[in-house]
Subunit: 337 residues, 2 copies
């Protein structure tokens, strides 16, 4: 089975954008207005896009979460973020109910700058326990590019780690949009967040304090495999756990779009720690003139790694995802039947 662990609902029907627009109108007195989206609109938003591409590319199942840049945690306030997050998670639930064999739900969290991650726990529990989601996304910089919250190694985040461990679900580290003109959302902020989160964790005690916590760093870790020697050196200079040991405490997704980068990722972090992922439809929605295929049609780069064994491929395309997202197991078993 081929599982794509990283897809966002980037093609939401207009009713969702209308809800968001009204959040600006109602900023002074936030309210959760109804969201007018029919099942037919949801079907139309997916069948010509994600589902068609999953079929064409031989991908069985996609982990599906709310649009990442669209969550915009920097906007408004904690209550505005909560309303917006809830309606987006509910929408993902509707997608997974309509297409139970193609999508498994991953929730967004109602983060807000300066607000304790503890305030996200209620929504996390709702999504995992009531909606049957298998994981969540966490934004390490809810300020959207001003980096005003504590790093991931700070006790600030520990209440969230406790509940992730209790529920046995992982968190995928993923930025939302930036509101800082220094950054380009998908071109620099996303990648900076990946690399920064990796470094925050590497210099932290998080995995000593939460040995069962599972975190996924997206986009191949930002710069991870390219700068691995620098990270190795920092571990030695600072007497941290060796890089080779630390890196295996994390999972990295394969949302990279060149054969060289893909090979470097698998070599540096190892076949046990790579999750196949395309982020389709996401940041690289164009045809690569070098291949004639979409940039995000990246499974062929893994297929082409001749030194991978069949067992390695099973790990990258399926086994690692089931280990990192154990709540995915019954869904996969049902799909298989």
């Amino acid at each position: 089975m081929i599982i794509d662990t990283h897809g966002h609902y980037t093609t939401v029907p207009p009713g969702v954008r209308i809800f968001r627009a009204l959040q600006i109108s109602n900023m002074g007195r936030p309210k959760k207005t109804p969201v007018a989206v029919s099942d037919d609109e949801i079907r139309a938003s997916l069948e010509k896009g994600q589902i068609k591409l999953l079929d064409e590319r031989g991908i069985d199942l996609m982990l599906f979460s709310p649009m990442a840049s669209g969550m915009g945690h920097h906007f408004g306030s904690a209550v505005i973020s909560r309303h917006w997050t809830e309606i987006n998670n509910d929408l993902i639930h509707r997608v997974c109910t309509l297409y139970p064999n193609r999508f498994a739900g991953v929730c967004a969290l109602p983060q807000s700058p300066g607000v304790s991650p503890r305030d996200c726990i209620e929504e996390l529990r709702r999504c995992i326990l009531e909606l049957g989601f298998v994981g969540c996304n966490v934004n390490p910089d809810p300020s959207g590019g001003y980096w005003t919250d504590p790093p991931l190694g700070d006790h600030w985040w520990y209440p969230l780690y406790e509940v992730l461990t209790e529920l046995d679900v992982p968190a995928m580290i993923h930025a939302s949009a930036t509101c800082n003109p220094a950054f380009h959302t998908t071109g620099s902020h996303y990648l900076n967040v990946d690399a920064t989160a990796f470094m925050q964790l590497m210099e932290s005690r998080v995995f000593q304090d939460f040995p069962r916590l599972r975190l996924i760093i997206t986009h191949g870790g930002g710069n991870l495999a390219y700068q691995a020697a620098r990270y190795r050196a920092l571990c030695i200079m600072n007497k941290w756990e060796p890089f080779e040991t630390f890196v295996r405490r994390l999972a990295f997704d394969s949302t990279l779009y060149s054969p060289e980068a893909m090979e470097l990722l698998v070599k540096v972090v190892g076949v046990d720690n790579v999750l196949f992922a395309s982020e389709m439809l996401g940041g690289v929605n164009a045809t690569d003139p070098a291949t004639g295929r979409s940039f995000d049609d990246n499974k062929p780069y893994l297929d082409a790694l001749a030194w991978l064994t069949d067992a390695d491929r099973t790990k990258i395309f399926e086994g690692n995802a089931l280990r990192v997202y154990p709540r995915l197991c019954p869904i996969v078993e049902r799909v298989r039947r």
Copy 2:
């Protein structure tokens, strides 16, 4: 000739740190106190470190600039930054005077958050025209990790670009320390700054407006070669100049510490756009257990690229540096004699 284009004076004698410490004491009434550093102290600070390593590694000449993290543009005020920058640039001038065949000067600029880069021009002119320096370092984020200044594509930076073009000197893009707890200075902030600067320039009109401007992105471009396909896709999606064309408007230095990363850099940006550099003694001051050599002893990774021709090697080790830093030419001619 082997030219290392990226070294910082990280081993400054104590008198320099004493000056810096007094800047805190005198914050309310900044003054430029005398710096007590003898020529013997300068010699001692270099001969067992950088010069010994240049000799051991067969490097003829190093472009030498003030310590990068130590510049701390976020501290104090514009006048405090100016005093500190001047004494550091003067110190580099003394190094180059003591060792005219081993070091060529690259200056720091007296940047300060929210202060126009125009205010750096006087010091830039002094260093180039009076001290014989060949280039400068520019910090795209003087706030030290809060990213409060406009991006490099903004007209905010244009007065500096005008003078760089007029003086025919390049700028090496290089962060200073971060004061934001989200970041690790050498492990995340430096690399984020490299990648962010690249993206700021790629979505800008800077090279249309300053076709003769030359900028160097350090540390292999942060994530550049690893994420090249994402950047290629963004150029296509946004109808920007093709990535392959844009990337050749910049130079990238080879401060990477693994053979795979080095090869990927040269392949992606081309042999005409790589400057050999080690950043010695800098961010990776340790022995690599995999090789038994220092991490920053990275020339062997370029030597080992069997597909490079002799002409390619001459470019990477010498020719590209002379093209990007034309004021280096008379210095190199003198060293040769």
